[in-house]
Symmetry: C2
Subunit: 124 residues, 2 copies
């Protein structure tokens, strides 16, 4: 099923016809914009990158993330919350610590957007 997406993405010279296939309606644009907005901050991008660096099924403790930035602990916690609200990551408390991991779904939808111009009307 991902075959068609692959082909379109593969053509660097014609990368945009993906976008073109169908124009975004207002609802699709609003939903997509939320995700892009969540990614539109360097701190959040680095947080996501650090969490994703553990690979499939990997987790990172907040106690590893916070000291990696010269920002206060509440600020990091706030950015993690925004990433969670964008359904890009999720977390679980285990004992004293909280662990975060990446949710692949929404990122996959972004790729689908580029490839087909649609949001693959999944989970919302």
């Amino acid at each position: 099923m991902s075959k068609q997406e692959l082909e379109v993405i593969g053509q660097d010279a014609t990368c945009c016809p993906g976008l073109s296939a169908a124009q975004l309606d207002e609802d699709q644009a609003a939903e997509l914009a939320k995700v892009f907005k969540a990614l539109g901050d360097p701190i959040r991008l680095r947080l996501l990158s650090m969490i994703a660096s553990r690979g499939e099924g990997g987790e990172v403790c907040v106690c590893e993330l916070t000291p990696a930035f010269s920002l206060s602990q509440p600020t990091i916690s706030h950015h993690l919350k925004l990433l969670r609200q964008a359904r890009l990551i999720d977390c679980e408390r285990r004992g004293t610590w909280v662990y975060y991991w990446v949710l692949p779904g929404v990122l996959a939808k972004l790729a689908a957007f580029r490839a087909t111009g649609r949001t693959a009307g999944a989970t919302a």
Copy 2:
């Protein structure tokens, strides 16, 4: 050369190892965030979608874009400027009218980011 990227993107179940390959440093994150921020607004997404709907080499006149939204003409002009500053589109004046088209480069970089975790240190 896009072969490897294709493979990674194709695996929905393991969509994130792409991100994982290399962690973003501050500069990469800042540059990427600019693009995501430009995409993080529903109006700009729809503008980009409308322009991209003309396909490779296609153009759209501003006089077609502006009436598609219930926003003032200066506001649309402002959003187009932001998309231009993010190197997502470019424009040219021909007579009285101005025509916009999509620049494939940066969008391709976004795909590369998802696929390899790097920004393919290209133009900007």
